[in-house]
Every structure is written in structure tokens, then in C-alpha cells.
């Protein structure tokens, strides 16, 4: 019924869209055209509203200069000819629009600054890229700094190295740089420059004018912007970008030709090297990055599902809390509709698996399913958050991230570290306090588990990368050596940040493989600095952004850092954790990978992530309250069954995304269903697998289902894939067989009980699937009991084994 009404709305809305397109005026960017100097130019973008979309007309319009003596036009680019005020005309069908072009500075000499004018050319054409001369030892004897992060090095490499053979000022075109770049002599990288192009000419001018390095009073590049910054595009359409560089003296330059472009979701929207975006046929959002001179600007493109949807549908969707409204808003933009609400048994099983890391027992399932009170879902969430398994389960997630290999740092240090993490969750320690205690930890590895962080990560740069990634979602690894092409952080940012850990000192016995079992003290020393690796300059501690408390005698470097980092005003801190928890509960992070928050990897729903992060901070970083907020939203309770208008969605939470159970969750659920407990080495008898203090404790099952492997790099990587090994293990594992057929197990108990066969089948369905069997399932179950040679015991075991091998058990729905 719903799909029919949607179709009617789609049909009704079509004529309206067409009518609007005919009357909308053309919009030209930039609104004012100012050309300064003979070598300047300006790209134009012309767009027009069409229904609920804005459509790019740049390559459909005709642009002509009405004053060729002042300016000329090539395609969508305006060039200066002579100083003065000119005019251009833009025509589309019977629509025309005229614009003024102000030209100045023609005939004046604009001295070239190497960093401002030449380095971007080397970057644009890939000369200093990783595969070419930008790699660590250069290419064929010629090395440039990666992506031009060190212009002094590059200047020397071009002008002085190899006795200056790369440049030839008396005849600039004969310079090896240009001959190679234009492939006029053999060049391994092929032809990069076209003789006569503006960039080629700039290089010629630079060489001809004596290869100047720096010009006095050169304005600093402050930011880069793109037009349009965001766009909703229909399938298979195009959109031209214009990239503008803004300098400290207030001037701007069109750098569309020199920028580099990249899409984070090429299937949704791709971009070519000229900045032309092409949308595909996949619904979703993409971020198109334009990078110029190590600064980045993003254009966010949404490609909605074709067709129209009545907006009232979104207005009438339930909103249990702010999460729902913001998810609906995003779905509305993409014209996706949410699935129905999940059934009670699905919600029950999902909540148990998500919050306490095991499936409900038959008794727990029966109690919930027969409860008719309207608020039972909310009460269930509250109940689960109070269970001791909550702490053990959620600890494993942080243990994955923090807990090192005991063979490397020592058994006792890891045991204590694990216990520190678990105690933090047992007492529901606020997340800011958790991080603060960790980052400022001092004392013995035998008495304060948190200091094991500093036993494992021993140098300022090792700790910096971990802290940046884990707590701020900022990956700084690349910035150790160079500017990362998709990041805004450079070496100075990295080492200034690392200086917060410069005075972490160790006393005692350090790492001494193969047995690193001794005690070590970690404390704040009075000396220790971090130097810039290029300039050797001692760097004072400085946060990545914003203001941090001053380091004094009373406030140590690490305390100052912790205060800055865990501040409620630091959006990275709260949003990174909010995104982690969201990903755990919803099956996919708003940002993926969950610890990689950057402009070039935007959230699928930034407004929601911002709101969730703020809510988390406002609730004093209470992790349970964050989980409760998400789990009591309507969105969390959506079914995973797609509807017509969300089958394409895999990222916007229009339905629940199924996941294979984590290794420990699956194992503990099996133990619970079979009633046969497991023994682990270095653990007391009867504990669950989520209580293990190291992944070094042997378990074939847990390894098969992808728990982190300390032998891998990174060791915290948890494999969530489904593999043939897993299926075979469930089918053939001797251990599982023993559990199912144990004389003390649940199957034996049921078979020996007074229950009828129907009641046993019902118990099995409740304990394995958390639901009652349907009539047909009951009949199939009974046929197992009635089959030839079957006893109550074998039939119960067979049924249990078969059900444990089904996706309904192995997946979280």
C-alpha cells in the first residue's frame, strides 16, 4: 500500500519540476570577476535551479566577450587582455545575462615566488608525488619533498643540486626540467607539461628571471574554498568546481587548474583532474576534495534516489529522541524511506547482543515476549545496562584497542592494564576521566595498569600517533615525515603535539624480550624535549588546534594536554567516541574507519554526529547514557528488511545493518545455549570468553571468528568478515559437538525433562533465536523427533546443532 502511494506522489510531482526549470534564472559564479595581472584567469560556473535540484549549465551556455579588447573567453575561462572594465555575455536558449569584468595590472611585472607560484605546479603535475620524485630517495637521482612540504629543499634540488644542471637560464626552454617535463627528451614519468600552457610559461618565466626563491611581502595562503561547497545531484549529471585560493592580503586567485581532486566515494560521484564532478547511479553522499598547496576544501555531493517522495511521510515518522529527527532529515535529502520497526524478538536479541554481548536465555526471551507493557523496550535497555556483563563486554572493545602483547610488555603489566580497563567500565567511569587517567598515568606497571600504555609506547611520537587516533580520530602517522595529501597536519603540528609526551620518563627494567616481566615506573621528568626533525628546533608543546592550558610547575605537560583533549568544547574528542559507540550499535560508523575524522572523510550525517557528540559531552561523557540514547531511538529499533526505497542504502541508517556476531559474543552465546562451560588457560574456571585478559589465551574458536591477533600489525584489528573456515568450524568442530552432546548440557537436560517435544522445540527456539517457533517450524521440529531411530536426546541435539549453524543465530539482525 505504501509503495503505491509513493508512486502516485512521484507521478504527481513531475510536471511541477519541469515547470520550475523553465523559469529559473542563471546563477553565475563568481558574482564579480576581477582579473589582476597578465597571467591571471577566472573559471566560471553557471548553474540553474531545476525543481528541487540545482543543475550545472556551465558547458551548455555560450559565453562570449563583449569587449575583446579588455578580456577574452575560452570555454568557461575569462582571460585578461588590457586594463579596463569589460563585459561578457552568457546565453542559454533565450536566457541571457551580462557581467562586468574588471581587469587591472596588465603590463605590470609580478615577481615569482618559488613557494607560492612554482611548488603548486610541481604538485599539480605529480612531479613531487609519492611514486615519482617525491618518494624518500627520489627518482633517478632527482628528489623533491613529498607534495612540496619543504620548499627550501625543493628550491635547492632544482637550482643547486647536480651542479645546477636542471636549469639553464640563458635559454630557459632548454632547461632539463622543462625538456623532461614536456617529454622533449626521454622522461620516465612521461609528458606532464604542454609547451605554451600557463604552467609551462610560468616555469619559463621563473627560470628566465633568474630563478628567484622568495619575494618580500609575499602574502600567505590562508585558505582554499570551492564553489559549490555542496550540491544535490541527480544520477549521471555533471558539476564543474571552481577552486579559489585566499591570501593574507585579502586577494584571491582562481587555482582550479592547479588543484588536485579526489572523491571518497567514486561510485556516487567522481571528479576528474579539471575539477568536473560526475555523479553515478549509486545513491548516497560523497566528499570531493580539492587540494591546493597542502590546503584542502571539500564539496559535499548528495545523489538522491530518483523519483519523488511526499515530504509528509518524513514529517510523520516517529521521533523518540533527536537522533531520529536527524536521521530522517538525511533520508529526506536522499529521498530514502526507512524500514518498518523490527519485531520484539529481533529487538530483544539485538539489544542483548549489543549491550551485554550474549543472546538472551529462553527464560529471558519468554519474559520479554510475553510482556505487553508499552515501555518494555526502554526498560529492557535500562535493565541490560545494569548487568555485570555490560562492563565485561564493553571492556573488550577498549582492550582490543589498548591491550598490548604480553610477551612484549610483560604478563603482569598486561593483566593489570586489562583490569584497569575493566574496572573503569565496572564503575562506569566517565569517558573523559578514563582518558585523562590514561594519558596522565604515573607509577608502577605492577600497581597502576594505565601506565602500561607508556611501557608499550615508549617514545613521544609513538604515543602521539596512538593518542591522536584513539581519542581524537586524528591520524598523525603520516605527519611524522610529511604532509599527508588528505590531511591538514604537518610535521610541525605533529612534533609540537608530541612535545606533550617529551618528559615521560621510565625507571626500572624496560622491555627485555623474550621475558619482559619486570616492574617499570613511569613518571613526569623535569627534562626532555622534542625537536623538529628538519630544523632541529626545540618545539614547545602545542595542541593541534585551539588553546590548551599553560604548562607550569603544578600543571604537567600531560595534564595540560589531557585538559585540552577531554574538554567538552573539543568536538573531535566527543565525536570520536560517539562515532565508535554508534558504529558498534548500528553496524557502521557515521565516519568509517571510526577513528579517521577529517574533512576529506566526512561523516554520512555530520549534523547527527555533531549532535550526538555534544549530547555525550553534555551528559558528562557517561558512556552508558550514550548507549541508552542510541538504543532508545526509533532508528535503533528499525528492521533490517529493506523496503522499496532503501534497498540501495548501506550507510544512512534507513534500516538496520546485519552483522556477524563478534567472536566472544558468538562463543558465549553457544556456551549459554549448550549449557557447557569452557575452561581457558590463565583464567579461573567458568568465566566467559569476554573476560579473557589477553587474546594470547588459546582458543581455536575465537581465532576462527576473528578476534585480534597480536602477531598482526596493527594488533588491534578485529576481523568482522565471514569466512569458510567459520562455517566449517561451526559444522565440524569437535568442541562444539562435545558441548551439544554433553551429558551435563542443555540438550540432555531438556531431553530428560518432563517437557513435551513441542515444549522442547519451543525452548530451543527461545534460547537460540529468542523467539517462539512458527507452526511450520514446529512441524519440522517434530518430524525430527518422529524420524526413524531418533531418541529424544539425539533429536534435541540434532535440532540444537542445526539451529546453531543457521545465519539467524550467527548474525545480529
Amino acid at each position: 500500500m505504501k509503495s503505491i502511494s509513493v508512486l502516485c506522489l512521484v507521478l504527481l510531482s513531475l510536471p511541477l519540476t519541469t515547470a520550475l526549470a523553465e523559469t529559473s534564472p542563471l546563477n553565475v559564479f563568481p558574482a564579480e570577476i576581477n582579473l589582476k595581472g597578465s597571467h591571471s584567469h577566472q573559471h566560471l560556473v553557471i548553474d540553474q535551479a531545476e525543481g528541487s535540484f540545482v543543475v550545472d549549465r556551465t558547458y551548455e551556455v555560450q559565453i562570449e566577450s563583449l569587449t575583446p579588447e579588455i578580456c577574452r573567453v575560452e570555454e568557461n575561462i575569462v582571460f585578461p587582455v588590457e586594463n579596463g572594465e569589460g563585459k561578457i555575455r552568457i546565453t542559454l536558449g533565450d536566457q541571457t545575462q551580462e557581467m562586468t569584468v574588471a581587469v587591472s595590472g596588465v603590463g605590470e611585472i609580478h615577481p615569482i615566488d618559488f613557494d607560492r607560484d612554482i611548488v603548486p605546479i610541481l604538485t599539480r603535475y605529480g612531479c613531487n608525488s609519492g611514486p615519482c620524485h617525491g618518494k624518500s630517495r627520489g627518482q633517478n637521482g632527482f628528489q623533491l619533498s613529498l607534495l612540496g612540504f619543504d620548499p627550501v629543499f625543493d628550491y635547492n634540488a632544482l637550482t643547486k643540486e647536480a651542479r645546477g644542471r636542471r636549469l639553464f637560464p640563458p635559454a630557459p626552454e632548454e632547461s632539463l626540467l622543462l625538456l623532461k617535463g614536456a617529454a622533449q627528451v626521454p622522461h620516465g614519468g612521461g609528458k606532464k607539461l604542454t609547451p605554451g600552457s600557463p604552467e609551462y610559461n610560468s616555469l619559463v618565466r621563473w627560470i628566465a628571471t633568474g630563478t628567484p626563491e622568495k619575494q618580500p611581502d609575499t602574502p600567505k595562503l590562508e585558505k582554499v574554498t570551492v564553489y559549490p561547497p555542496a550540491r544535490i545531484m541527480q544520477n549521471e549529471k555533471e558539476q564543474q568546481l571552481v577552486v579559489t585560493a585566499h591570501y593574507s592580503d585579502g586577494t584571491t586567485t582562481d587555482v582550479t587548474r592547479l588543484a588536485q581532486y579526489q572523491s571518497n566515494e567514486a561510485a556516487i560521484a567522481d571528479i576528474d583532474e579539471a575539477g568536473l564532478i560526475s555523479s553515478g547511479t549509486v545513491t548516497g553522499k560523497a566528499a570531493l576534495m580539492a587540494r591546493y598547496h597542502n590546503l584542502i576544501a571539500i564539496c559535499t555531493v548528495s545523489v538522491p534516489l530518483p523519483g519523488e517522495v511526499d515530504e509528509n511521510i518524513y514529517a510523520n515518522l516517529p521521533e523518540y529522541n533527536f537522533i531520529d529527527g536527524l536521521v530522517w532529515k538525511n533520508l529526506k535529502e536522499l529521498k530514502i524511506l526507512p524500514s518498518e520497526q523490527a519485531s520484539d524478538h529481533t529487538f530483544l536479541r539485538r539489544s542483548y547482543l549489543d549491550i551485554i554481548g550474549r543472546a538472551p536465555t529462553a527464560a529471558e526471551a519468554r519474559q520479554f515476549l510475553t510482556d505487553s507493557s508499552p515501555d518494555k523496550r526502554e526498560r529492557l535497555i535500562d535493565h541490560l545496562l545494569e548487568q555485570p556483563e555490560y562492563a565485561e563486554f564493553w571492556s573488550t572493545k577498549w582492550a582490543d584497542l589498548l591491550r598490548p602483547n604480553p610477551y612484549r610488555v610483560g604478563i603482569k603489566a598486561v593483566l593489570n592494564y586489562d583490569n584497569w580497563i575493566r574496572e573503569s567500565f565496572r564503575e562506569n567511569k566517565p569517558y573523559d576521566q578514563f582518558v585523562r587517567e590514561l594519558v596522565t598515568a604515573q607509577g608502577s606497571t605492577f600497581r597502576n595498569g594505565a601506565v602500561t600504555l607508556f611501557r608499550d609506547r615508549r617514545t613521544p611520537d609513538e604515543i602521539t600517533t596512538l593518542v591522536g587516533q584513539l581519542f581524537l580520530g586524528i591520524r598523525l602517522d603520516c605527519a611524522r615525515c610529511h604532509h599527508h595529501p588528505f590531511e591538514i597536519w604537518g610535521q610541525e603540528d605533529f612534533y609540537s603535539f608530541a612535545a606533550y609526551f617529551a618528559r615521560v620518563q621510565h625507571k626500572g627494567v624496560g622491555l627485555s624480550p623474550p621475558i619482559s616481566g619486570s616492574e617499570e615506573m613511569v613518571f613526569n621528568g623535569t627534562s626532555g624535549e622534542v625537536k623538529h626533525p628538519l630544523t632541529n628546533e626545540v618545539l614547545a608543546p602545542k595542541p593541534l588546534f585551539g588553546e590548551a592550558p599553560e604548562v607550569t610547575e603544578e600543571v604537567s605537560r600531560r595534564e595540560a594536554l589531557a585538559t585540552w583533549m577531554t574538554s567538552k568544547e573539543n568536538p573531535f574528542f566527543s565525536q570520536t567516541m560517539a562515532n565508535r559507540v554508534w558504529a558498534d550499535l548500528m553496524g557502521r560508523g557515521m565516519v568509517e574507519p571510526v577513528d579517521d575524522l577529517r574533512g576529506t572523510n566526512p561523516a554520512v550525517n555530520q549534523e547527527l554526529l555533531t549532535a550526538l557528540g555534544k549530547d555525550f559531552a553534555d551528559q558528562d561523557f557517561d558512556i552508558k547514557k550514550l548507549i541508552r540514547r542510541i538504543c532508545t531511538s526509533y532508528v535503533y529499533g528499525l528492521s533490517s528488511h529493506p523496503v522499496e526505497r532503501n534497498t540501495v542504502d548501506t550507510r544512512n541508517y534507513s534500516r538496520y545493518y546485519r552483522q556477524r556476531l563478534r567472536a566472544e559474543v558468538l562463543f558465549d552465546s553457544i556456551v549459554q545455549v549448550t549449557g557447557e562451560k569452557e575452561s581457558f588457560s590463565a583464567m579461573p574456571a567458568g568465566v566467559t570468553s569476554k573476560e579473557l585478559w589477553t587474546t594470547r589465551i588459546n582458543s581455536l574458536f575465537l581465532d576462527a571468528f576473528g578476534r585480534p591477533d597480536p602477531n598482526q600489525d596493527p594488533p588491534c584489528e578485529r576481523n568482522t568478515d565471514t569466512t569458510v573456515v567459520q562455517a566449517l568450524h561451526l559444522m565440524n568442530s569437535e568442541e562444539l559437538f562435545k558441548k551439544v552432546t554433553s551429558d551435563k548440557g542443555y540438550a540432555a537436560e531438556l531431553a530428560e525433562s518432563e517437557k513435551t517435544n513441542e515444549q522442547i522445540i519451543e525452548e530451543l527456539y527461545l534460547s537460540i533465536y529468542s523467539r517462539f517457533p512458527e507452526a511450520e517450524e514446529l512441524q519440522v521440529g517434530l518430524s525430527v523427533y518422529n524420524s526413524e531411530g531418533a531418541t529424544r536426546r539425539t533429536a534435541t541435539e540434532d535440532l540444537m546443532w542445526a539451529m546453531l549453524n543457521t545465519p539467524e543465530f550467527v548474525f545480529k539482525d
Binding site: E392, G410, I411, E423, F446, P684
Partner: protein
């Protein structure tokens, strides 16, 4: 047989005979148990001494304890008088070849029990029925976990203090867990006094709570496994009664009454501060920290 070889064989026999008859220098690896209650006689097994060796002579730092050889050479019978001062006695064994190391033996004043296997799981836990009890136990192998059960009411504070490595010389690095009635760890304690753990836990709900003990070797090794042996001996005090942790000042005047403040758990108001007469200083009641469960 070759004649030369035969003579060599005889020579070896002649030389080795006196050595085999002679006892080795006594080497005490452990006393099992490591203490006893005043007013009782305790049979103590000496780990490290063969039951085939001649019984060594005994030396003790305290004269109030009567120590006699047991039925076997590696056993002692220690009689502790009713009025014996709580604290440590140091015992040495010696024979004609030399003297052993000194090992401590503790005199206590509260009920003692000996842990018996199997108590590895919550279901088979040894029940502690009195308000204050001292457990004499052994973590006999790498798979040994000792579990003790007690009933607690809401708001009750239980103190469990393990003595094994730091003062008693047991080669274990014990770990102590307080486990909830549902079987989940509430607290885990590793080092308090040296390697020996101590737990203080106040309950929120009534129920059967557990103290669970296991150990790693005090000299770290590379095995991810618990460790245990006959020498992994411990004494554990578990109490829900008054427990003195420390005092200020830590000494008494022999000339005038001294006002002493007591710190610990479950201390009634009248025990927060005491005035002790000068003669208390002469009673050799030195009150080592965390010695008593009951200050009476």
C-alpha cells in the same frame, strides 16, 4: 669383567657410601601451614626436607612456642600457648652439616581453617562461616584456583588480606578477585604489600560473595598460565569485623600514656582513638600493620 673396571667400581662404592648416609643441609622451602592459632597445636609439614632424612634440630626465635619433631623428619609439631603474642616466630632447622634459612611462622588469634581441594569453582567454593577467619592454603598446581564463599548483607564491608610472598617468602605472586553472587568479578587486586594482594569491598546487595585466588610466579616467566606448586603457600585473613590497617603514631611511649589513632575498616567509634598505658609498650604487642582482624 675387566679387572681394572671392577676395581674402579669398588672404589666408587666405597667413596659414595658415607655421602649417601649423611643428611644434606636442611633447606626449608615452605611450612605448610605457615601459622596457627594461639592455644592450639599445629602439625606443620616442611617442604624441602625429605621424609627419609634424619630429623634436623630446631631453633626458634620465640621461647613461648614449643616445637617438636613430628612423626616424620619433614614434620614439626608446634604448640602455641593460649597467651602467645600474635606475630611472627622465625624458625631454623639445622644438623651437623649446617643450618637452613630462617622461615616465618605466624601466631594468630582468630579461627583458622585449612583450605582443601577441590575448591576451584564457585560451585565448589569453601564456605567461610565465621565473621573473621584465617585460611591456610596452598595453590598446589598451575590449574589450582582457590575459591571461598561467604554470605554478605547490603552495606557490609569485607576485608581479605593475603600473606604469601612479601613477608612469608612464598614464591607466588597472588591475584585476588572479589566475585559477585552471579559469578562476575567485582574487583581484582594484584599488589598491595609487595606482591600480596588485599581486597576491601562493600556490598550493595545481599548474597553469596566469593573470594577467588590464583597466582603467577613471583619471578616472571613467559607462560600465559597460572602457576602453582606445593610451596605456593599462603595465609589469608577474611573478615567482616573490625580491621586495623595502621595507626598514628606508630610507636608508644614507655614513660607516659600515648594516644593512638587507629585506621582501618569496620572500626567502631570507640576504636577510632585509644589511649594506651606505658606498660602496653612492654607487652611486646608491637601491632604490625594489618596484623589483626579484631582489636579486642
Amino acid at each position: 669383567m675387566n679387572r681394572f673396571l671392577l676395581s674402579k667400581f669398588c672404589l666408587v662404592l666405597v667413596l659414595s657410601a658415607p655421602i649417601a648416609l649423611k643428611a644434606a643441609v636442611p633447606d626449608i622451602k615452605a611450612f605448610v601451614p605457615m601459622g596457627g592459632k594461639a592455644g592450639t597445636t599445629v602439625d606443620v609439614k616442611v617442604e624441602g626436607i625429605s621424609d627419609k632424612d634424619p630429623a634436623p634440630a630446631i631453633w626458634c626465635s620465640r621461647e613461648d612456642l614449643q616445637i617438636a619433631a613430628g612423626e616424620k623428619p619433614n614434620q614439626l609439631k608446634i604448640t602455641i600457648p593460649e597467651n602467645a603474642t600474635p606475630g611472627l616466630a622465625w624458625i631454623r632447622l639445622h644438623n651437623a652439616e649446617g643450618a637452613s634459612n630462617l622461615r616465618p611462622f605466624e601466631v594468630g588469634h582468630i579461627t583458622e581453617i585449612t583450605e582443601t581441594e577441590s575448591n576451584n569453582t564457585l560451585e565448589t567454593a569453601t564456605e567461610l562461616k565465621e565473621e573473621s577467619m584465617t585460611v591456610n592454603g596452598v595453590l598446589g598446581s598451575g590449574s589450582d584456583v582457590d575459591v571461598f564463599k561467604m554470605h554478605l548483607e547490603p552495606g557490609q564491608t569485607v576485608v581479605a588480606n593475603l600473606q604469601a610472598n612479601s613477608r612469608m617468602g612464598s614464591p607466588m605472586d597472588g591475584v585476588m578477585q572479589v566475585v559477585s553472587p552471579r559469578g562476575f568479578v567485582l574487583r581484582q587486586h594484584d599488589d598491595d604489600l609487595g606482591f600480596d594482594p588485599m581486597a576491601v569491598y562493600t556490598t550493595a546487595e545481599a548474597g553469596e560473595y566469593y573470594i577467588r585466588l590464583f597466582s603467577f610466579p613471583s619471578t616472571p616467566n613467559q607462560s600465559i598460565a597460572f602457576s602453582g606448586a606445593n610451596t605456593y603457600v599462603y595465609r589469608m585473613l577474611v573478615t567482616t569485623g573490625p580491621y586495623v590497617d595502621h595507626t598514628t603514631p606508630m610507636s608508644l611511649s614507655t614513660a607516659e600514656p600515648t594516644s593512638v589513632r587507629l585506621f582501618g575498616w569496620n572500626l567502631p567509634r570507640e576504636l577510632h582513638e585509644l589511649t594506651l598505658p606505658p606498660e602496653a609498650a612492654n607487652s611486646s604487642c608491637s601491632l604490625p600493620a594489618r596484623e589483626y582482624s579484631k582489636f579486642t
